[in-house]
């Protein structure tokens, strides 16, 4: 058995709703989420000995405040030995979870608090958001001068994937519908009105074949989780979210340097994660798949081994991933319907994966959920991070 399997667990989660809150400061989202997570864990605030805030994209100055211990002071945490950022864009939560687990296993930490907050919904203008994401994570020498931005990035993968597999616009639109059905059940989601495939297909064309309703939108929000050792987790709760497996693959910086825009590094990362976890794709009860655009959810489902190549699109179209479907997927509504909050896109998914295996998902709880897979990626899909959580250690 892998020595890393189940060495640590998420025992507390906290989250504020995703939305537009111009009157609320970013630190408020962080403080509220962190406080909830500590209380949810059933520990005292002074049990926290390591704090890992991630980066906030809307403001470098604010991000620096998080790096320089603002959260520790705001929360009044008195026994913190280290506060440092782990930031890798959209994969920050995966990397922070691994760092936390490794520190706990090494005896260097007992209770680690990870926190994310951002204000991309009201802290920047809409065009400012587009312009931010025409430079953030995009090569200033080799891609920015050609008008690359996140719509083109997603569209380039979509075009090639459609070319190679025969995936249709209906299948891609069905991802948006699936995630919306879950968001309807999530009070923290921004978009909660029912959505149809026809509405998605009729929305404005951004960058062929990508349409407006196939694009995430940017919002304010925040989330937090507490990580501790498996032994301590068992003392705190009957149903912790044990960290069973973690796999990662860094594939590129400049998007044009990715050798396969229809696969990325997911297969390698997923193999590592499943091997470490001691489970197989058939054991997975819920899949929290990174969904900034529909193409990535489809590729993620396939490359992680949950569907054969070319078969995730038809599966989403026939309702496999919907509530009551065969493989509930991205059950908080994801970036497409809950809303994109920067590095928090997959912080949300990590929290939702933990929430489901901890049995705390309320009206959208997947029955008898034992094992969850969560995927995350930063930059222009520069890395593939796969995490498997479970409420038992196989």
């Amino acid at each position: 058995m892998s020595k890393s399997r189940g060495r640590s667990a998420i025992v507390g989660i906290g989250e504020v709703p995703t939305g537009r809150f111009p009157e609320t400061s970013a630190i408020a989202f962080a403080v509220e989420s962190a406080r909830q997570a500590i209380l949810d864990a059933g520990i005292g605030k002074d049990d926290i000995d390591v704090v890992i805030p991630t980066g906030s994209l809307f403001s470098n100055q604010f991000s620096n405040e998080l790096a320089t211990c603002r959260l520790v002071e705001e929360l009044g945490l008195r026994n913190v030995r280290r506060n440092f950022q782990v930031f890798s864009g959209g994969s920050s939560s995966s990397n922070a979870l691994q760092v936390a687990g490794a520190m706990i296993a090494a005896g260097e930490a007992s209770h680690v608090l990870f926190v994310h907050t951002d204000k991309l919904g009201t802290g920047v203008t809409a065009q400012g958001g587009i312009d931010l994401f025409s430079t953030a994570g995009i090569s200033a020498e080799w891609e920015v001068p050609f008008g690359q931005h996140y719509s083109t990035v997603a569209a380039l993968a979509t075009t090639r994937y459609k070319h190679e597999t025969g995936c249709t616009d209906e299948m891609l639109s069905a991802v948006c519908v699936s995630n919306r059905k879950w968001a309807e059940l999530n009070p923290h989601a921004f978009f909660r009105k029912p959505l149809t495939i026809d509405e998605v297909m009729a929305s404005k064309m951004l960058a062929t074949p990508l349409r407006a309703k196939q694009s995430n939108m940017l919002f304010d929000g925040g989330g937090a989780f507490v990580v501790t050792s498996a032994e301590r987790a068992r003392d705190l709760t009957d149903k912790p979210a044990f960290v069973l497996g973690e796999g990662g693959a860094v594939t590129h910086f400049a998007y044009s340097q990715e050798p396969d825009l229809t696969r990325f590094g997911w297969a390698q990362a997923a193999r590592q994660a499943f091997e470490q976890a001691g489970v197989t794709p058939a054991d997975i009860d819920v899949a929290e798949i990174y969904d900034s655009y529909p193409i990535y959810q489809i590729i993620g489902l396939e490359e992680c081994g949950l569907y054969p190549r070319g078969e995730a699109g038809p599966a989403v179209l026939r309702g496999d991933t919907w509530p009551d479907g065969r493989l509930p997927t991205t059950t908080d509504g994801g970036m497409l319907s809950k809303g994109h909050i920067g590095a928090g896109g997959s912080v949300s998914l990590m929290i939702e994966a933990a929430r489901q295996v901890m049995g705390k998902a309320g009206g959208r709880q997947v029955p008898n959920c034992r094992f969850a897979i969560e995927t995350a990626t930063g930059g222009t899909y520069m890395d593939a991070q796969v995490t498997i959580l479970g409420n038992e250690i196989p």
Binding site: T125, A126, Q127, G129, I130, D131, F133, S134, T135, S139, A140, E141, W142, E143, V144, P145, F146, G147, Q148, H149, Y150, S151, T152, A155, L156, A157, T158, T159, R160, H163, K204, M205, L206, A207, T208, P209, L210, A212, S215, N216, M217, L218, A254, Y255, S256, Q257, P259, L261, H340
Partner: protein, 144 residues
């Protein structure tokens, strides 16, 4: 990411932020040449320019002129919600080009009806002057 209407006046086009070791590339495009690197140790072609070979780590990288020919690996036509500096260019084509030498680069496909864009279509380099210092390599369909 999506935008609302009411965008401000477009800023100037972004200019490449150049690394010291890629200066010969930009000197080449000014002269109408597409230069890439070739590793003297392992023989790999290299783009974008590196200080050492990304395959074998040798420093023995020489500049060679690319054929300028390749294929479209993938493509998209930007129709709306472009970055401010590119709003006036809509519709424009962004594509990943696979050069015949085996390296990939991002560029724009020009002189092409968007309807005729296709994965794997053959293209050839053309040079578009951005300003006195920079000329960008772009690609157009190879005419039969």
């Amino acid at each position: 990411m999506q935008a609302n209407p009411g965008t401000p006046a477009p800023p100037a086009k972004p200019r490449p932020v150049v690394n010291p070791w890629s200066r010969p590339f930009w000197e080449g495009t000014r002269q109408g040449k597409l230069l890439i690197q070739k590793c003297g140790a392992c023989g790999h072609h290299v783009f974008y320019p590196r200080l050492s070979c990304p395959d074998c780590f040798a420093e023995d990288l020489a500049w060679v002129q690319s054929s300028g020919r390749g294929t479209v690996y993938s493509h998209t036509v930007v129709m709306s919600n472009a970055p401010s500096a590119f709003a006036a260019d809509v519709p424009y084509v962004v594509a990943v080009i696979r050069l015949d030498e085996g390296v990939q680069m991002l560029s724009n496909v020009v002189d092409c009806d968007p309807e005729h864009l296709a994965c794997d279509m053959p293209v050839e380099v053309v040079f578009e002057k951005l300003d006195d210092e920079f000329t960008l390599p772009k690609f157009r369909p190879v005419r039969p």
